[in-house]
Amino acid sequence: MPNEYDQGLNDRKAAYKPYAQAIPGSFAIGKLDTAPCTMACPANLNVQGYVQMVKQGKYREAIEIIMRDLPLPGILGRVCPHPCEKSCRRLEVDEAIAIRELKRVAADHVKLSEIPVPEIIPKEEKVAIIGSGPAGLTAAYFLALNGYHVSVYEAMPETGGMMRYGIPEHRLPRSVLDAEIENLKRYGIEIHTNTAIGKDLTIEELQKHGAKAIFLAAGAWKGLMLGIPGEEHSEGFSHVVTFMREVQLGRRKKLEGKVVVFGVGHSGMDTTQVAFRLGADSVTMIDPFSVAEMPAAAEEKKEVEREGAKIHFQVAPQRIVIENGKVTGVECSRTRLTEPDTTGRRKFIPIEGSEFFIEADHVISSVGQEPDLDFLGDDFSGLEVSKWNFLVVNPETLQTNKPGIFAGGDVITGSATVIEAVEAGKRAAKYMAKYLRGEELPTEWQEEPPVGTNWVEIPDDAPVKKRLEIPTLPVEKRLSGFEEISLPVDEELARKEAARCLNCGGCCECYQCIEACQAHAITFETHAQQEKSVSIEVGSVILAPGFSAFDPGRYDTYQYSAYPNVVTSMEFERILSATGPYQGHVQRPSDKREPRNIAWLQCVGSRDINKCDHGYCSSVCCMYAIKEAVVAKEHAGSDLDCAIFFMDMRTYGKDFETYYNRAREEQGVRFVRSRIHSIEEDPKTHDLVLKYVEENGDIQEEIFDMVVLSVGMETPEALINTADQLEIKLDKDNFVQTAAFNPIQTSREGIYVCGGFQEPKDIPYSVMEASAAACEAKADLSEARGTLVKEKTYPQEKDVSSEEPRIGVFVCNCGTNIGGIVDVPKVGEYARTLPGVIYVEENLFTCSQDTQEKMKEAIERESLNRVVVAACTPRTHEPLFQETLKDAGLNKYLFEMANIRNQCSWVHSKEKEEATQKAQDLVRMAVARAQLIQPLPQPTIPVNDKALVIGGGITGITAALGLADQGFHTYLIEQSAELGGNALKLIDTWRGDEIPGRLKDLIRQVQDHPLIDVFAESTVKEASGFIGNFETTISSNGTDRTIKHGAVIVAVGAEEYKPTEYRYGEDKRVLTNLDLDTAISSNDKSVTGAKTVVFIQCVGSRESERPYCSKVCCTHSIKSALRLKKMNPEVDIFILYRDIRTYGQREELYREARSRGVVFIRYSMEQKPQVEKSGQEISVIAKDLILGRNIIISPDIVVLASAIVPRDNVTLAQMYKLSLNEDGFFMEAHAKLRPVEFASEGIFLAGMAHFPKPIEESIAQAKAAASRASVVLSKENLMVEGVVSNVNEIMCRGCGTCEETCPYGAIALVERDDGKTVAHVQEALCKGCGSCAVACPTGAASIFHYDDQEVLTMVEAALEG
């Protein structure tokens, strides 16, 4: 099946793990609708299942699958008319799978007697079955499996019914028939032959003898009459039933002369072949219908013709001519057929005057059979019989009008196929059992649910594979006897044939996985798991469903569907991945060749209202395209030419511009500002010819080996429906509608949104929003906090400090992950020989729940005081085992792991012996260390639940409110006299949310909040402490005050760059964006009345001394331009820019500005615009890159989109030991995973102190920081890890080397009461890295759990072996 995770670039199995790092990391089984072959089979055999087993040569498993539905695999493997093959979807590609033949192949390879009979729980009830044909035997088999005592009564001398007395031996060898029937006796079935009901025993007698249910499966043994003269009592005429029976009984051994057979059904064909084998000179078959109506298969016709039969279609017998009581021939006439009636059937009409005569010595009529119900007596034993002489039954349950008496097979239908009889037997068994259990039986036909057709897709390019040709006995060898015509198929060919199966149903339900799963995680029950609905009650809902990538296949512009080497960026991500379809090797799909060059086309499905209706920018594509290009070059070598074709390069995030510059200048990625005209493919090489238009209008053509489409984001259809169900509003682009001041609040209270469902965005901002949504949800739920938490308790810890080490070693097989490579018993045996080892155990899965219990018991029983687990990696599993130790009353540090999976069996899978040796060494090292390790205390420290927020701008205000609303007392300090920060100068957000009013609201909320203390005109003077326990001295107008708090949020913001260029400060008509906002707010006529305005972008940003993009200026300028246009539509506005970076839905503003006539002129770094002044007039000169000429504008005002620069953050950074990036902004712990946290615990970051950003992002980040901080504040105590540094004060000489070395500020020199200066470790800050221990010149500093001896002993043990 296609691997969804690899974007369909390769295939996966039906049992699969979604991807290597998937959570939960378990396997799934992909099932689709039941395959059409199974649906077509009357007995619903799991065809796909046994075909797959044959493919793998697992014949026994194939037979076991067949035996779930059918006890006669070898018989059906020969005689079934295989309706399944007609529905095989392989027919859409070439020819059907030879299903019947594959069944026979399986059966021929397996002795049924060797298949174990499943455990049968015997039941009291007896059941009688009349007739040992396929219906009777099948019913007997399933009833016996159910535990009933089954007796089968057969009138004939041998078993098998029509299978023996109707089907000739050359089609069904008696050895096969005998073996399969004999096998049934192993299930406890008794078969009485030569016992005719009605003659030897009556139904009443059977009931009297205890048969609680009876199944009448007596077959149809009476030949139908044609009603033509001469049919009765003449020598040379017989019915097929009689003829075949006589042959089988050995009463007819010869048939000489000319033979005429009536009817071209299966049995007509059989009759003809038998006639030849008995010595017939010729056989002529006649049938009144045409070849199109022939019931027999074309292959059967072919075979009888090969043997010499003549077939006359549309010929009806009129009279059997008899002379002297002996047949001499048949008088026939030709027929014509009527048009089909409403049921599709035709009738034949003899053509008058077309009569002719066929000479014959024997005539055998094979036109159908009916049951011989004489055995039921005159009144049919009270059973209802139809006018066609069939027993009447309920069509669903097969019960007759008499309760407990069921009937099925030919006796209710007339002659039919073996597989139909099997179906009847199965059905009867099911309802007889139900009847016997006293359950009520349905009275009507139970309609099956409609058949689904969600099957595996057949790829357009599925290769044609020829169907297996079944070998047959040469004609010259056939006629001398009854040797089987179909010859065994070569095993290789059979497996090849099985491999043609398309696996329509996904999982083939072979249940091999149940066998294979040693942990018994897959059972028949879990295998059958279906999705189910559950209801849960919640106080708030967070929507984080993400987005889907734009499907470029919808439009032919990029030829994505047509050309194999045009891939999407999502596919390219997988191509680059080490776990991807090509294991990280860069190659193109068409021929798996390494590409020489790759082109990325930007804005596919974004910024395009002509083709895809997505007017917005998808925000992330520029950055990921650069990353893909850089990584591709890393993988493939620098010779790979990577070119990115773009309109505007939007690298607006933190450190993004630097990455872009490096890709361009150092890694040699080409950036081509262009529009794409077309992609054409060279059909021979699959190379791609890219035609594009450069900025100056020149048309270029380049050939690429691969083209990557940088597809944008969109909301999938399913999510639109979800939003509708949840009654939340979406905007016109189908993203969730939110407001700038609450960017995670949907239109419905209590439902929050984060990530790509809100607007296209990257990972850092999505993660911030996620925390922000958690903050909102926590505020809603603050009253219920902790009410559902159960506290875990542990037994009293045992004191083992004075005991000798008693080590228990647990060696894990990890299923076959370790056990399949490393000789685990040998490792276990070896562990027993190691000093101190008291107990060794091998586990299938040491991490399983039951093993934890066993481990606890072993610790207690054997008085173990150290535990070593040899398994996977401590990085993932150490906490689990340590928990078990704690549960057993041991200190968790008395534990050690030997990594014999990730670092042994997995990486040495081909060298089993060496891997075993290495595993032994690793265990020896772990045991040696375990001897030395000591219990360690884990001190708890109390947490102060107050918070400090530094910075009273909109970020600080929001963060303070976020914390206070959750119930945490918060100190908010602001350096100026007024709260509000930069927002005080702004008019509205890009979406048009009005700012001053909302800001005033927020400030009032802060001032009124009982849990917020505001310190205005205040700064941080001093800070000390650690997570949960900070002490900060605040200086307010000269007065100092020290406060204690558990967490800090740094929200000091940033400020506008005061330009030194473009005559700013020299001429008051040159303004910054904030100056412009202030002027508009105060209705400064010189600004609002301006007739010509020039905006210059990137003033102070993206320069060599300040390489970052300030993110907000493009949007700000365009917003201001639109405002000026609104106030005065006549105003001429020119925006001089380098790239327009209106990311996300801000693109809409850009489009609107252009439509309103704002003129955008791009300039390059090499030729920046000039602001000139002559007299009173200022003029702006800029080089237009499209025209290639200078243009001169004489504006009334010039607006500079000046950069946003960090404040002087150094002092604060030093006080709290925080890092700054190269640009002077604060540095978070991890750009993507921990975007609002500092590396130092308990300190958080939000707003423009982190990086320039618009209000809505600052607000989201503020809420995120509040959310993360509350995780700390909501704890009463923090537990400190035991692996910390320790200073032996006697040996310490107070040199301070350790203090200098410690990267966490956890060690400081202190003066003791006695005046001696020694190093002191603050355990809550210590990470246990051990640098101090290495740096210490006297050996005073050491690290618990990793002291010199504990490490050195491992070095020794490693090299001992």
Partner: protein, 67 residues
């Protein structure tokens, strides 16, 4: 046939990076020769020169400090 030189290598791996990288190599089923023994430390800064000298003294042919 002459014996191929099969060096004994002792590796000190930082728990947070190199050790997890070695785990990841396993998850990714990378194959490498089975002649190195990894000792986990909480930081490569924990590796004392004594540890390295001890390894050589005990007969190691190479020491890899990864972090």
């Amino acid at each position: 046939m002459t014996d191929k030189f099969n060096p004994k290598i002792v590796t000190f791996a930082c728990n947070w990076c190199a050790y997890s990288a070695a785990d990841l190599a396993g998850v990714s089923r990378f194959q490498y020769p089975p002649n190195l023994r990894i000792i986990r430390v909480m930081c490569s800064g924990r590796v004392n020169s004594n540890f390295i000298l001890k390894a050589f003294q005990m007969g190691a042919d190479g020491v890899l400090v990864a972090g």
